[in-house]
Subunit: 227 residues, 2 copies
Amino acid sequence: MKIGIFGTGMVGQALASKLAELGHEAVVGTRNVAETLAKTQPDGFGNPPYSQWAAQQPKVKLGSYADAAKHGELLLNATSGNGSLPALEAAGTANLNGKILLDIANPLDNSKGLPLQLYVCSSDSLAEQLQRAFPGLKVVKTLNTMNAALMVNPQLIDNGEHQVFVSGDDADAKQLVTAFLRGQFGWKHVVDLGGLATARCTEMLVPLWVQLMVTMQTPMFTLKIVK
Amino acid sequence: MKIGIFGTGMVGQALASKLAELGHEAVVGTRNVAETLAKTQPDGFGNPPYSQWAAQQPKVKLGSYADAAKHGELLLNATSGNGSLPALEAAGTANLNGKILLDIANPLDNSKGLPLQLYVCSSDSLAEQLQRAFPGLKVVKTLNTMNAALMVNPQLIDNGEHQVFVSGDDADAKQLVTAFLRGQFGWKHVVDLGGLATARCTEMLVPLWVQLMVTMQTPMFTLKIVK
């Protein structure tokens, strides 16, 4: 399948590696290809620069946001929260219309320290902002409540016996994303939370997740529903 | 131990029953004792009126918020979010100063339907609002992320192998609350999230919890950290 991924960071890389490994044609989109390739320093989280990662991923192509959007039958948003709207604007409405956007970004305000703050919460969400700005896109929020490695390999914890959430207004899109999560990444438990407004609930989970990561000194955990 | 409980609803009742059963002297505080006793209809969640519950709880006393605060060596806030500040104001600063308030309330805005909204989030919390209004009180946020029955009996799920969070600025108060949760209610895993500002994280978890309760059609579940 042809997949466009917005964002060259840790999440974009994890998705692209996994999808290439599975035989999909992934194009990663960035704001400025030359700038992205010129980076030689690790990012703020200590991840190696994109070019270093890309050298080991010959099947993954890098392009503009428009290139990635044009290429993708399915689109994945792995940009930072405040980079998401500019990324979609750069991608262009014509390249987005009618497609599904699997939205993983979170509206994090990194300027305030811990506990991590959100720049939108409770009465709105980043996912809804993207949907309102691009009504021709079918936004499905998912995977935004966990570490990147776990997104593409749920087996890393508890034999995969935990849940991922999906929120979206388009039932068919949500069904396709659910099948994608199950079939490609091996998710056993996909919980449909409801319409896209329920993305507020999962975005608001992220500050607790970050606080727990700091407390437990590892990102390799998740919050599992137990009955 | 002498314990004052603010709030006559489902959470206040669950706490009072359990504490009386454990031999503590519990006084439940309400805005207006006569009005509370005069209610003959179930509340909005289908719980029986207070007087009906109280008839089977001869050891639990009902009084004003001031009565409960005066009585309690330890205070528990089980009011609704927007009832919390008025309750503490009615209790009176002199009856609160120097005491620990175990704050279980959540800043829910029930006027907007689902997904449930909060009237404060991300950059502030109800717990911090209470702490700022009553600096002589030692506010510790806890138990606010689950069903009332589970708060006082964690064994109801997964043999008690799940977590409760505590947030607070006073280290001694947090330690006492942790010991109380372990010793009285049987919590095996009490996770210290940090200062009281981390109450934002657990309050923001509540809309997801409510959405899951609706999706799963049961309140008898929790979100457990798995590694």
